[in-house]
């Protein structure tokens, strides 16, 4: 199965273009993150994709078939939608809420059958929320409510799951529960698309990402290529640092917002695109001699960039100096700096050589 948006354009008012020529696609087992700042149109994007709003131009399709030509009952057996928990009606018990997810499979004048009730229970059990069944949705926590809404969506046995900011407003634990659930569903073959404010969640979970900028343009591709510092700066207007965080088990990519980029930064900075080759040097200071090994390890990973290095212990003050000269793309150099900077007790400074040439602004390619 494949869901795709092809050259979608949308604006609420005439002449306004909130979404310009957006395209994305997802196939079985893919987890796709839709990223963007507040007000960029992430929710609008989802609503257009599912047909709640009409594309001004372009279309959404499932297996090549325009979703407008798919009868609603059939469409909503294939796709299931999980709204933001804050908009959810709280009048029902969790069990009743989940059972409502069976609507597309129950006749108009019929009531749920035993099979439907069992299916709803089975989904709740799988998500570990069966104990909430008798509780009112108004009396459970935000994280629990989110899981109830996911269960309701799954009760219709969909192939595609669309979630609107499923992990926002949740604490760390509940964020992890929700994200783990998504990862698991995707690994079982479900197509999952979710909106999120957090680039880190995209990096840690999503194979592909769709990044929406305020100006209506967008980037879609493998997450590692989409969620870069340059793209985050462009979309969010924030200078962010992407780095690896090592846990005993594995290395997690993480994004740390550092500072707001002033308006109009593009004009006087050449760093708009991470793919320009630059000359730079990184200076590393540490008082922890034990870190030297780690630093060497990281430098070794980026050895292609390194054109020269110098190391010097200053025993009197117990400080170790390392200086590396580099030739590589800006994003590679920044990634190296970030990786080093995340080591505990290590100070890192990256200095780029000034460019002689005039500034060049690289726009993302657009299809015409």
């Amino acid at each position: 199965m494949k869901i795709a948006v092809e050259n979608g354009c949308f604006g609420y008012k005439k002449g306004e273009q909130l979404l310009q020529n957006v395209s994305l696609e997802a196939t079985d087992g893919e987890l796709v993150a839709i990223l963007g700042p507040n007000g960029a149109g992430k929710t609008t994007m989802l609503r257009c994709m599912m047909g709640f709003l009409k594309w001004k131009d372009g279309r959404s399709s499932i297996d090549g078939k325009d979703i407008r030509n798919i009868p609603p009952r059939e469409l909503w057996r294939t796709i299931a939608y999980v709204p933001q928990a804050k908009n959810a009606s709280a009048a029902y018990t969790a069990g009743e809420m989940v059972l409502l997810g069976r609507s597309s499979r129950i006749g108009i004048f019929s009531q749920p059958k035993q099979e439907d009730v069992e299916k709803a229970d089975e989904v709740m059990e799988r998500l570990g929320i069966l104990h909430l069944k008798e509780k009112k949705c108004s009396e459970i926590s935000g994280g629990e409510l989110q899981m109830v809404l996911i269960a309701r969506a799954l009760a219709s046995q969909p192939r595609i799951l669309v979630l609107d900011e499923p992990e926002s407003n949740l604490d760390f634990k509940n964020q992890l529960i929700v994200l783990e659930t998504l990862s698991r569903l995707a690994s079982e073959g479900m197509i999952c698309l979710f909106n999120t404010h957090y680039p880190a969640h995209a990096l840690q979970r999503a194979g592909k990402s769709f990044l929406l900028c305020k100006d209506g343009s967008s980037i879609f591709g493998p997450t590692r290529e989409v969620v870069t510092e340059a793209n985050i700066r462009r979309a969010f207007g924030v200078r962010a640092v992407i780095g690896d965080v090592e846990t005993p088990e594995n290395i997690l990519r993480s994004v740390l917002p550092v500072e707001i980029v002033p308006e109009g930064w593009k004009e006087n900075e050449s760093a708009a695109d991470g793919s320009i080759r630059r000359i730079a040097s990184i200076t590393i200071l540490t008082k922890d001699y034990g870190m030297a090994g780690k630093i060497n390890e990281i430098l070794h990973r980026y050895s292609e960039l390194v054109i020269g290095r110098m190391g010097m212990p200053y025993k009197k003050a117990g400080v170790f100096f390392i200086s590396v000269a580099l030739d590589g793309t800006e994003s590679e150099i920044q990634a190296l700096g970030d990786a080093l900077g995340l080591l505990p007790g290590v100070s890192v400074k990256t200095v780029f050589a000034k460019e002689e040439k005039g500034t060049e602004i690289h726009e993302q390619p657009r299809t015409d």
Partner: protein
Amino acid sequence: MRAAVKQQGKLSFGWLVLLFVLPVAVGFVALGIGRIWITPSDIFASLVTKLSGGEAVSAQNDMVLWNIRLPRILLDMLVGAGLSGAGCAYQSLFANPLATPDTLGVASGASFGAALGILMGMSLLGIQGTALVFGGAAVLLTWLAGAGKGRGLNTIVLSGIMIGSLFSALVSLVKYTADTESELPAITYWLMGSLDSANFGSLKLGAPPILIGLILLLALRWRLNLLPLSEDEARSSGVNVRALRVVVIICATMMTASCVSMCGQVGWVGLLVPHICRMKFGNNHLSLMPASISLGAVFMILVDTLARSVTAAEIPVSILTAIIGAPFFIILMRRSGGWSL
């Protein structure tokens, strides 16, 4: 093990039987209450002779029972069930606990129609007809004023309030121009609600819209659970929610206009009974709708029986619905710790 999975909100067999039996039983007892007291056994005897075609034991009793009290109690049941069902549907449709059957202005419109009919000296059936027509017209106006692309349901509720007050003003206008000796008292009394005009003639015109509405709402009862959900959620259920809303509005309008056309404005039932049922049965319409309909009928029989038998002169029923309903409601609300919609 499998059979242990029970569906929530489904009426247990006991409740189902009770909800069927209670209105009939209460109605049967109420048949005997009034200025002439008739014991249940006499009612039963009279019923048997009537069905078997035998000689009546007491012609007067028969007359009172079958020509005066029976149509009135049938009307009680219909009106109670209809208003309560319509109120329940509207509360869910507008996700608003304050919604009543009159939210879209149907009762005000019907009242205007009836007042106009009385002013023009129409027959009772004529008055009933104009009330029905104007009730429908008021809702249509509300719909035209409030519905539209991208507008929420609250716009419709607001236009309902506007159209309702418009028709209330028109009722005042009719009252102002009415003859103070005969027409004005008739209009005023009618507006307060009275079921004493009940006869099989008016039931023939008034019952079918209520019954059709009730049957449709009952058939759709599980679907009604989708109504309070947000727009996108409801649409993503794969159900045509707009069509569902329109059907609910048409049902509720038919039912309410028909009730008002037969017995004037009976307030409170459509607000009180569904909320009382929500406290007991929760918000799942699978049980809420049948319960509202059944208990609405019971409540109306009780109140109307009081209205016609407590004093020599009949008390207008909408006065009693509020006097009895409000304290009862408050006690229940405090006991059950409130509810949420």
